[in-house]
Symmetry: C2
Subunit: 219 residues, 2 copies
Amino acid sequence: MSKAERTREKILDAALELFREHGYEATTMRMVAEQAGVSTGNAYYYFASKDMLLQAFYREVHDAHVAASAPVLRDAKVFRDRLLGVMLKKLEVIEPYHRFSALMFRSAADPRSPLNPFHPAGDDIRHEGEALFAAVVDGARPRPPKDLAADLPALLWTYSMGMVLYWIHDHSESRQQTRAFIERTVDLVATSVRLAGNPLLRPLRRKALALFRDLAPQR
Amino acid sequence: MSKAERTREKILDAALELFREHGYEATTMRMVAEQAGVSTGNAYYYFASKDMLLQAFYREVHDAHVAASAPVLRDAKVFRDRLLGVMLKKLEVIEPYHRFSALMFRSAADPRSPLNPFHPAGDDIRHEGEALFAAVVDGARPRPPKDLAADLPALLWTYSMGMVLYWIHDHSESRQQTRAFIERTVDLVATSVRLAGNPLLRPLRRKALALFRDLAPQR
DNA sequence: CCGCTTGTTTGAACACGTTCAAAACACGCC
DNA sequence: GGCGTGTTTTGAACGTGTTCAAACAAGCGG
């Protein structure tokens, strides 16, 4: 591990600790630098901006989520159970960061943020997210309709972002509201996926899917 | 018109002009003050923050949209046509501000922003938006199912926010993409509303509506 | 050991949004 | 006109994220 890598690590660790303790806004770059035993300029040598520190955090959370989801994806067979399990794991993983994750999601709506679902530069982060939901879909028995299955990962990822948005504003005791949100919306999603196979709904489903494909910007 | 009101106006005008010309970020409070022929501190006497100037702008845009929608709501009868007309008017009204509206929407996802749909303090702005869509629904013949009609305004307002989000990232020639987005999603929405009356879909519809009501934070 | 290049690190400086004590003003009242 | 009180207005000052020229360190070929 080179000196540079160690310095980078020191800065990131300091930042995450301070974020957890004081929240994102209240943590200044000078604080981060001091905690890491480094100059402010040096922090900028490794992270182009304060937001980049946030992104590094996002990566860590995602990895933790993937790891936590592994058992669910191994054991659960039915689509609904797989989705429910993965969503609840996400909730678990992000819970410790409730205080400051708000800011992370704020940036997700910013056109210039790579976290933004519409942003071309944020491909890796989004793709990794979609990959997880692809695993949810792929392992599900019975299989959802094929055309739907193709777009389902992207749709589910968007859905999970919606869950996070809800969670951010949830100040209920031990986040019951979000738990309820997940349980009920997962059922709704699962029902929709099941119903989407119905012939009566074929035109609507095809319209919706075509729309999603045609209009999705840069993919 | 008192002196204070004139000063306030001067500052707001200066801000909107500079926003249009240079965008939101590039416009500094010092520039606004100078353009208005006033001190920086004075700008803060009338507007608590730079964001508040943005909100004032938002109000102006909304008023313009309501005015532009009036003929549509007078003439069109079918739900689909009313919705389509109002959405296209919105597109027209916001078009001149494409360069800097991105920032406005970014703040809409910020939990602390009153523009945020989940935020309790942003009630007036949201309610005014919903009121417009209530007019879209109320005047429609044939009428949509009653229980759906109750929640439609809120749903449609959320939908229109989605359109704006899409528009922000649309850099196509004369915003064709967003135009296509509107035309196709309006059809999709109209179809969904029509289908929602079908008995087969009643359980799903009731589930979805109950969810929307139960989980909508602070309303 | 010396120069050279390349990769790190520093800390002062910049422009920004925002605050605040104090100054300037407006206006009713004696 | 002068006083007093509340409203406007000022501009210096604060702390922020960020930049940058310059200093330093680390390897490397001679």
